[in-house]
């Protein structure tokens, strides 16, 4: 293939060419608009970076070939069937291309997310090293705030949420007897948006003023007047969020329409149920964080005043919109793990899962209740105070479906023939840690206690019990049991 042909064909060459084109487009848009308005300076670095953060990833996605089929189809040109469909990968190079095979995409997801897991984990170690003694050890306060913010954002948006999407991508079509996902090209696009988001979050360390340093919650108005790094977060979340929404839609359609004949809903494995309910959560909730970050972006980039109280902005609104996503997000990060644990325990205790129907219903109950509890993150935020007690009650009620799950796992162990394989050990570790996380979660619903412990390490500990001892253990259990097959 000649160089010119390589630059025309989808792939890394064209992607490498399209990246600078994306940057140029951003430059032209900003400089052109500013010149037309007569603003000085015409060339504004921050504005160009902001637009480039949107344009360059899109240009990369076009270059690597995510949109080729659709462009051809839309323009009436003969479409080129993607050459890997149906056979997956024949060499390691196929994992670095836009590939529509669900197993390849699953592995792409898992490997990519584990890279970010490692990076975010190293950041956690830096944080702990910094905290080893009072005062400053290794990093200055701004870098420190950046480290824990990027750590959290990577772990949440680039590891736990997408690694579950990766595992599900690999196993769901196999479990329901489907040839592939319902929308393979959308599936590929979903994957390729992820590294964009992750690289953007990491790149924020090189932005003037350092990485975004407002926590993963990016509360306004702190986040509207911090340096440029914040914009990297705001836009990265859009890419990660779009990726998650597209994948969730894909799972929903696949699970609803592509089950093998006879595989009714109440015969689906619990892992499929778990991903079905998770996808419902994603599709309904994720647009809200996209909204919250668009508000921020508009405030930062275009001078809107959603959160500028001097001009009628409302900063509590940010928290409501943010947590309306971010509480369900906790279940987005947990339900797929529940599915994995159900499979692992049942397989390694050589027993059917105990109380299958209740296990499925409890997932649905968590989805519904999960949307009614967001304000328990805001008990001291100054929101309407009447909202606290109802949210306390709904939050505590989630203990009931969660309890059903834990007790049913225990009952599945009971009188089984228990093989203590590696996945099983992780599953047992999960039950221990997740019970602790769940119990501390009950405490974090009781308003008077929360008034004291909110914004403290009590909350940090709770979320790490749930996400590390909980979700990450289920991921390990899933990866180990998958790799043994």
């Amino acid at each position: 293939m000649t160089m010119a042909a390589k630059l025309r064909a989808p792939g890394w060459y064209r992607a490498a060419l399209s990246l600078p084109i994306g940057a140029l487009v951003a430059f032209a848009i900003v400089a052109g608009a500013r010149a037309l308005y007569g603003w000085t300076p015409v060339i504004d670095g921050e504005a160009i970076t902001t637009v480039a953060l949107i344009a360059m990833p899109l240009a990369f996605l076009v270059g690597i070939g995510c949109f080729d089929y659709w462009f051809r189809w839309a323009s009436g040109a003969p479409t080129v069937p993607e050459d890997h469909s149906g056979h997956g990968a024949t060499s390691w190079r196929d994992y670095f291309r836009v590939n529509t095979d669900h197993k390849v995409i699953g592995i792409q997801y898992i490997v990519t997310t584990f890279v970010f897991f490692m990076l975010a984990g190293l950041m956690a170690m830096l944080i702990r090293a910094e905290l080893a003694a009072p005062g400053t050890q290794f990093v200055d306060p701004n870098t420190y705030n950046g480290l824990f913010s990027v750590h959290a954002s990577l772990m949440i948006f680039l590891f736990i949420i997408p690694v579950f999407a990766g595992i599900a991508n690999y196993v769901i079509p196999l479990m329901i007897g489907a040839p592939d996902m319902a929308f393979p090209r959308l599936n590929a696009l979903s994957f390729w948006m992820l590294p964009m988001a992750g690289i953007m979050m990491l790149a924020s360390f090189f932005a003037p003023g350092g990485a975004f340093a407002t926590g993963w919650t990016a509360y306004a108005p702190l986040s509207t007047d911090t340096p440029l790094g914040q914009t990297f977060f705001t836009i990265a979340v859009q890419f990660a969020g779009a990726s998650s929404i597209a994948t969730a839609l894909n799972f929903l359609v696949t699970i609803i329409t592509m089950r093998a004949p006879g595989l009714t809903f109440f015969r689906m494995p619990l892992l499929v149920w778990a991903n079905f309910t998770t996808s419902l959560l994603v599709v309904i909730a994720t647009p809200f964080i996209a909204g919250s970050q668009f508000f921020l972006l508009l405030d930062r980039a275009l001078g809107t005043e959603f959160f500028q109280v001097a001009n009628g902005g409302d900063v509590i609104m940010y928290q409501h919109v943010f947590w309306f996503y971010s509480h369900p997000a906790v279940y987005i990060m947990m339900l797929p793990g529940f599915g994995i644990i159900s499979e692992v325990i049942s397989a390694n205790a050589r027993k059917p899962i105990f109380g299958y129907r209740m296990m499925a219903f409890s997932l649905v109950a968590i989805v519904i209740l999960g949307f009614t509890v967001w304000a328990h993150h805001m008990f001291v935020s100054g929101m309407a105070s009447w909202l606290r007690v109802p949210m306390m009650i709904t939050t505590m009620l989630i203990a009931v479906p969660t309890g059903i799950k834990i007790f049913s796992w225990l009952a599945t162990l009971w009188r089984g023939v228990i093989h203590l394989t590696t996945p099983m050990l992780f599953a047992l570790g999960f039950i221990t840690m997740f019970t602790l996380g769940g119990i501390s979660g009950i405490m974090l619903a009781v308003i008077p206690v929360v008034i004291h412990v909110s914004d403290t390490y009590f909350v940090v500990a709770h979320i790490h019990y749930v996400l590390f001892g909980g979700s990450v253990f289920t991921i390990f259990a899933g990866i180990y049991s998958g790799s043994r097959r």
Binding site: N142, A349, P352, V380, M396, L413, V449
Partner: protein, 287 residues
């Protein structure tokens, strides 16, 4: 031991629960108690611990017991008992957790109601958070110039309402010894009330990440006897006196703020402390 497995687990679980509860109660979890609400909240926390430990022990006992008792012998490829469910058991483990969390929620609600109940003889302190310091204002009766201070001093055993504001970003006004906090939010006024009842000096902490200097946004509150507070206030007032020759007359809106029942966020900046001063005014030097 040829006992019934349930009896065996019950004995082990009870012993472990008792030990766990003793340990949980022996640990000194929280900073010193500086208010009645702190005691209420600590008791609530202890109750939560007493309920939580047996639940954790229950899960662990069943899990460990199963793993020990039902572990496969080497080479065992048989299946476990074909149990698909047990409706009675499932009803039990839906009902009991439901009852437990309902009871805890109710108890939590009662405590919340207690710590937020309006008190007689309340004084008002306006708290303002900004990057990276707290400042305090003591509104004076009769529309006099409020007393400003960078130090929070409170008379012991006197209920106080904090009206909390922020100038720039969100902060959170937290006195760990009182167990109470509320965000300081730009654009709105938040509030909480507390009755400090133990003299001493406690930390005032900003609990909401507010920028680079967040970690340094720490001050202290001195809870002192009423007389000491009165003289401190008088001294503060004298220091500020040259500037304040302000009108002593009653504010026009004084009648609009009926005394007593509700301390929630007055819309105007004008402190309505004068309306509260009726019973306490005698002890304060009226300027």
């Amino acid at each position: 031991m040829r006992k019934h497995p349930l009896a065996q687990m019950l004995v082990i679980g009870t012993i472990a629960s008792i030990l766990g509860v003793i340990l949980a109660l022996a640990i000194d979890w929280f900073p010193p108690q500086g208010s009645a609400s702190a005691r209420d909240i600590d008791t609530l926390y202890d109750v939560l611990m007493i309920v939580s430990v047996p639940i954790f022990v229950l899960v662990m006992t069943v899990a460990i017991y199963s793993v020990v008792k039902f572990r496969a012998r080497p080479g065992d490829q048989s299946d476990g008992a074909p149990i698909h469910g047990n409706t009675k058991l499932e009803v039990v483990w839906v009902t009991i957790p439901f009852l437990i969390v309902s009871a805890l929620a109710f108890y939590g609600w009662v405590v919340l109601d207690d710590i937020e109940r309006p008190q007689p003889n309340t004084m008002v302190v306006d708290v303002t958070g900004q990057q990276f310091a707290w400042s305090f204002e003591y509104p004076q009766p009769g529309g006099a110039e409020p007393v400003q201070s960078n130090e929070l001093v409170l008379p012991v055993n006197r209920p106080v309402d904090f009206n909390i504001q922020a100038l720039d970003v969100i902060h959170s006004f937290w006195v760990p010894a009182f167990r109470l906090k509320s965000d300081a939010v730009p654009g709105i006024e938040t509030t909480y009330r507390v009755t400090p009842d133990v003299e001493g000096t406690y930390d005032v902490v900003c609990a909401e990440l507010c920028g680079l200097g967040h970690a340094t946004m720490r001050q202290s509150v001195r809870v002192v006897p009423e007389e000491e507070f009165t003289s401190w206030l008088a001294q503060r007032k004298e220091e500020a006196a040259p500037a304040a020759g302000a009108a002593q007359g009653t504010g026009p809106d004084e009648g609009a703020a009926p005394s007593g029942e509700d301390q929630q966020a007055p819309p105007s900046d004008q402190p309505e402390a004068g309306t509260e001063g009726a019973s306490s005014g005698g002890s304060e030097p009226v300027g």
